[in-house]
């Protein structure tokens, strides 16, 4: 027996240990995989032996291989074996391997329950600590349920080391087994006032994590935290507490008021940058939650912004980053105070650090005004040229568009400039999604700003022209989509439609959705061109055009894409009809020339071109995002009725719904928006009528701008735009010089016009505009359509959010902890959770309580709940305002004591600093500059 042991030991000596493994891997860089597979074989051999220390050696090696990406779950049972060793050294190896490779779905975990329980109750604090640490990585629902009680007992261990770990462990237990939260909560609360700072800070940590997801349940703890905040000197804990308050204040404005003062004190006194930063963050949160009624409201915001400026100006990039991050929070509610630091933010845009530039970009949104928009966008365009990496470029692009389009293009005074910018952007390289953004923006601007259409369409035609004529010219294809659509839709504004038609006909391989848009819009342009020719009676040219289109369509009809095919064949049919009519017209004309004395003759083909044009009648307006859903089903339309009778049945009217009808319901419902599909094509008259009707509805609908006002405005504004000399100058010259920054010229001109305006003001004394806003005199007011089309009677509501994803894990932890009807599963006494001394901290407690108690089935529990209600009601009223549970007298006393205390505290702090190492590190400690 002894011999065997000795033999085992000697064998062991020559086993590879972890160091050998690492060294071996390093020495076999060429064939690492082969070497490791050899080692795996060795390890499997070792795991088959009885000797636990051999096994643990193997497991240690496996843990290393796990880090390199090898799956070691097959050794799970061996890991458990090693975990069960009586030696701490071996146990440690086992528990480490477990924490690295087990997860909460491992089936093996069942085997560990009793072992871990034994370990938790071990006399040695390190063994229990080891088990806790490891368990925290893979605790499952079963383990949480079975071990909750044991861990809870550890909360009252005599050793702070164990208490600390047990407190943190409780959070993991709650996550997996939410039922444990209610009974354990009072104990957890006690730990907030544990004598050991480590335990205290762990408890704060846990409550913060809990409160972050379900803050309202933890409002009752505010007094405890407030006390901690004013007394503690542990910066790590203070940070957590202050973060927690940031989450609580939106729910309880009174808390915010209470907090402002101590927080500002901290901001003034602390030298730890991290604490300062979190204080500022929470003050911001408080100020956001308190809308009004704060006397020194402006002062606090000023203080924050000032401190943030110091952070941003710091040479430490980390502080700069965080400063900008916090600024963006202020920006939402107090844009004015941030705008004062515009210089600084623009400076940050030049920073070499991408993270900082991105943060500064976020802030730019609030920095723009009518005056500086062009300038800022120009800067961004320069960045765009310099920027490497698509992430930053994409971000720049989306920010440019966001800045310009905010509030319905509120800050844009010169839309020609904007269109030029967009066209320039279209010629740069971006990620694949960005073309769509630019295209959508171009369409949006043109639809909403009638005055710019002519210019925009000319630009678009130019784009199409250049795209089809040259091959080197790069442009995003998604922009071509917009270009084709705009040219088709607003063809009337185009000077040379035929040329555009020609360039559109030259389209090359395009994605299918763009190709179909091309086909559709070629038709629109063609209709317009035909109309012109017809007026001149040039039938030959008309025929030639039709032939061209037919040729192109014959190509497209071969496309593999269904959509393109369908549109092409549609177009072909239409073209054939047209051609027939045109040749008829041509014959008629030649007849007419022959006997020219027939004055009563009418042109027969007029009808056909006019009809063709009428296909594209009607203006398209922007549609509200949820409009489709809100279209009511018109009366008399039965979506369940069949629209197609099966050929077997001869009857053509009101057949009974088929048994297979549910096959169709879904698609029908989807299409409920464009019910026109099922109606016969409306005639000219009908269209007119319906348009009248729609106008009438629009008049009554508050979401529309009144139509007549639109008309008057547009006419006025087109004049206005034309009246600016800049616009006309810009049109003729620079159009054909692509690749240069045409948009810059607008900037120069903008300053020119400003100057000239100022001059003219002095000389001629224009009617000065009444508004004193600095934005008012910068350029003409251009009418922008703000409305969005919605079906009658429907209104936009935010309530229908499409997706309401929430963390399911934490939803389960949304437990009302203030009630004390604790199901007594854990043999713990019903401890009231201190609702009494909290006063009216949670106003609607009573209601909650009632609804809660209803759920409880057991009668005695209900009774106790009701009793509690009564006592609370009695207490609630007098203490309404006393949120933090401090009696007003006590508060005064405290306030009196404070100055003395603080002096003492300061002395204590200094001593503490010497002793403790809490403050040993740059950000958390003190002056990080030193």
């Amino acid at each position: 027996m002894a011999l065997k042991k000795v033999k085992g030991n000697i064998e062991r000596m020559f086993d590879k240990n972890l160091t050998d493994l690492v060294r071996g891997i390093r020495n076999n860089k060429e064939n690492e995989a082969k070497y490791i597979s050899e080692c795996m074989e060795d390890i499997k051999q070792e795991l088959r032996q009885d000797n636990l220390s051999v096994k643990s050696n193997a497991i240690a090696k496996l843990t290393y291989l796990q880090m390199l990406g090898y799956d070691i779950s097959w050794a799970g049972f061996n890991i458990i074996e090693v975990m069960s060793s009586s030696k701490f050294t071996l146990k440690r190896i086992g528990y480490l391997a477990a924490s690295q490779s087990f997860h909460c779905d491992s089936e093996l975990l069942m085997l560990t329950t009793n072992m871990i329980r034994k370990e938790l109750n071990s006399q040695n604090q390190y063994e229990a600590g080891l088990a806790l640490t490891s368990l925290s990585c893979y605790i499952s629902t079963d383990l949480a349920r079975d071990l909750a009680n044991d861990i809870l007992t550890l909360l009252s261990s005599t050793k702070p080391y164990i208490r600390k770990k047990a407190v943190l462990m409780m959070y993991k237990v709650f996550l997996k087994y939410p039922e444990a939260l209610r009974p354990a909560f009072p104990r957890l609360k006690e730990k907030l006032e544990d004598p050991d700072p480590g335990v205290q800070s762990a408890a704060v940590n846990v409550v913060c994590e809990l409160a972050r997801k379900n803050p309202k349940n933890y409002l009752s703890l505010a007094p405890v935290f407030f006390k901690l905040m004013t007394t503690s000197t542990n910066n790590w804990m203070l940070i957590k507490i202050i973060k927690l308050f940031g989450a609580l204040t939106p729910l309880e404005p009174r808390l915010g008021k209470k907090l402002i003062e101590p927080l500002t004190n901290l901001i003034h006194s602390t030298s730890a940058m991290s604490l300062l930063y979190e204080c500022i963050n929470t003050v911001i949160a408080v100020l956001i939650s308190i809308s009004s009624g704060m006397p020194n409201h402006a002062a606090s915001i000023q203080l924050c912004v000032q401190k943030l400026r110091i952070l941003i100006e710091d040479s430490d990039q980390n502080l700069k980053y965080l400063g900008l991050l916090a600024m963006s929070k202020i920006l939402k509610t107090h844009p004015k105070s941030v705008q004062a630091h515009k210089d600084l933010i623009l400076q940050c845009l030049e920073d070499k650090d991408e993270s900082i530039r991105l943060r500064a970009l976020d802030l730019l949104y609030g920095m723009v005004s009518k005056k500086n928009l062009m300038e800022i966008v120009k800067k961004l365009m320069v960045h765009m040229d310099k920027a490497e990496g698509t992430v930053y470029r994409d971000e720049l692009l989306s920010k440019i568009i966001l800045i310009c389009s905010q509030n319905n293009y509120q800050f844009i005074t010169n839309f020609e400039w904007y269109i030029t910018v967009l066209v320039e952007l279209a010629q740069m390289e971006f990620g694949s999604k960005q073309g769509h953004v630019i295209g959508a923006q171009l369409m949006d601007v043109c639809i909403r700003v009638p005055a710019i259409r002519q210019f925009a369409v000319t630009e678009m035609a130019q784009l199409l022209d250049v795209y089809t004529s040259t091959s080197q010219f790069t442009i995003m294809q998604e922009v071509l989509y917009a270009a084709a659509w705009l040219c088709g839709e607003f063809i009337a504004d185009l000077k040379n439609p035929e040329q555009t038609l020609q360039s559109m006909l030259k389209y090359k391989a395009l994605p299918q959705h763009i190709e179909s848009v091309f086909i559709q819009n070629i038709l629109k342009v063609l209709a317009h061109v035909l109309e012109i020719y017809e007026a001149k009676e040039q039938y030959d040219e008309m025929c030639a055009l039709c032939d061209q289109v037919i040729d192109k369509m014959n190509d497209s009809i071969k496309s593999g894409e269904l959509e393109v095919q369908e549109r092409a064949s549609n177009t072909l049919i239409i073209m054939k009809i047209l051609q027939e009519e045109i040749t008829a017209g041509k014959n008629h004309q030649s007849m007419r020339i022959m006997d020219s004395d027939d004055p009563l003759d009418t042109k027969p083909s007029e009808t056909i071109v006019a009809e063709f044009l009428s296909l594209f009648n009607g203006e398209l307006n922007p549609v509200a995002p949820k409009a489709q859903k809100k279209v009511p089903i018109p009366e008399g339309l039965d979506l369940d009725a069949q629209i197609y009778d099966e050929p077997v049945e001869e009857s053509d009217s009101d057949s009974e719904p088929d048994s297979r009808e549910n096959l169709f319901i879904k698609t029908d419902r989807l299409r409920s928006g464009n019910t026109i599909v099922y109606q016969p094509e409306p005639t000219e008259e009908e269209i007119k009528k319906s348009r009248e009707a729609r106008k009438q509805e629009q008049l009554n609908n508050p979401h529309y701008l009144k139509s007549d006002s639109i008309d008057s405005n547009t006419s006025a504004n087109t004049e206005n735009v034309d009246g600016v000399p800049v616009a006309e100058l810009a049109l003729s010259v620079p159009l054909k010089t692509f690749g240069e920054k045409r948009s810059d010229k607008y900037l120069a001109m903008n300053t020119d016009t400003k100057k000239s305006k100022k001059k003219s003001k002095k000389k001629k004394k224009y009617k000065s505009e009444s508004s004193s806003d600095e934005n008012a005199d910068v350029g003409p007011v251009i009418e922008i359509k703000r409305g969005m089309e919605l079906p009658e009677g429907a209104t936009l509501s935010d309530s229908e959010s499409d997706h309401d994803k929430k963390d399911d894990l934490h939803k389960a932890l949304d437990i009302d902890l203030t009630s004390n009807t604790v199901p007594n599963d854990y043999g713990m006494p019903d401890v009231p959770t201190g609702v009494e001394h909290l006063g009216g901290s949670v106003g609607n407690d009573v209601k909650k309580e009632k609804s809660h108690s209803k759920k409880k089935s057991k009668g005695d529990k209900e009774k106790s709940a009701k009793k509690n209600d009564k006592s609370k009601k009695a207490l609630k009223e007098p203490k309404e305002d006393n949120l933090l549970g401090l009696d007003s007298d006590a508060e005064k006393q405290q306030a009196d004591k404070k100055p003395k205390k603080t002096k003492k505290e300061k002395k204590d702090k200094k001593k503490a600093k010497d002793k403790e190492t809490y403050y040993n590190h740059p950000y958390c400690r003190c002056d990080h500059k030193s």
Binding site: R212, M273, Q317, P922
Partner: protein, 191 residues
């Protein structure tokens, strides 16, 4: 919460990986790779925060890292952690390593990854900060090491001797020794 703690070198070789949320091994490797690519292309004089790791977390998550000589220490955390606090925690971690290994260098982490894990376990537990006081951390580590030593006692002596021998690469020399002569010699002995 801290979601993951990664240590890798300038070439992206993992030196320590600790995930507080379960990912399969191949996913872990991808995360390390992605994180390395994100972090390594940044200059040393830019800020230590990084958004945009797509594999881990989501919008709420940030990468907070420090670069020491040949090693990157990366913490992936959510918004409940203070950014500057985590930077200090990394500092505490590294200083503790430095104390435990006496002038820590990459080689220490390579050969003693298990010890690094034990040290880390005294700082962070289950994704939550456990202790930030370095003296406290050091005493705990010290006491546990003492326990190991006691257990090892005399039994460990031969093992230590062996490992010393291994360092001299004796097994290889033993293998290289030419032994086949011996049986022949025995045969040759004539009785």
């Amino acid at each position: 919460m801290i979601k993951a703690i990664l240590v890798f070198n300038n070439h992206g070789k993992p030196r320590l990986s600790k995930f507080y949320q379960h990912f399969p091994e191949d996913m872990q490797q991808q995360i390390i790779k992605e994180t390395f690519q994100l972090v390594s292309k940044r200059d040393d004089n830019v800020c230590n925060f990084l958004e945009g790791g797509s594999l881990i977390g989501g919008s709420d998550y940030k990468l907070i890292y420090r670069h020491y000589a040949t090693l990157y220490f990366v913490f992936c955390v959510d918004s409940s952690e203070s950014e500057l606090g985590i930077l200090d925690l990394i500092q505490v971690f590294v200083e503790t390593l430095d104390k435990c290994f006496e002038n820590v260098c990459e080689l220490d982490l390579i050969f003693h990854v298990d010890k690094v894990h034990y040290i880390l376990n005294e700082l962070v537990m289950g994704g939550m900060v456990l202790e930030t006081n370095m003296t406290e951390i050091l005493t705990r580590i010290e006491e546990q090491n003492k326990m190991e030593k006691q257990e090892a006692g005399i039994a460990a002596a031969p093992a230590r001797a062996v490992s010393a021998m291994k360092n001299m690469n004796i097994p290889q020399q033993i293998k290289d020794m030419k032994l086949p002569d011996l049986p022949q010699a025995i045969k040759d002995l004539k009785f």
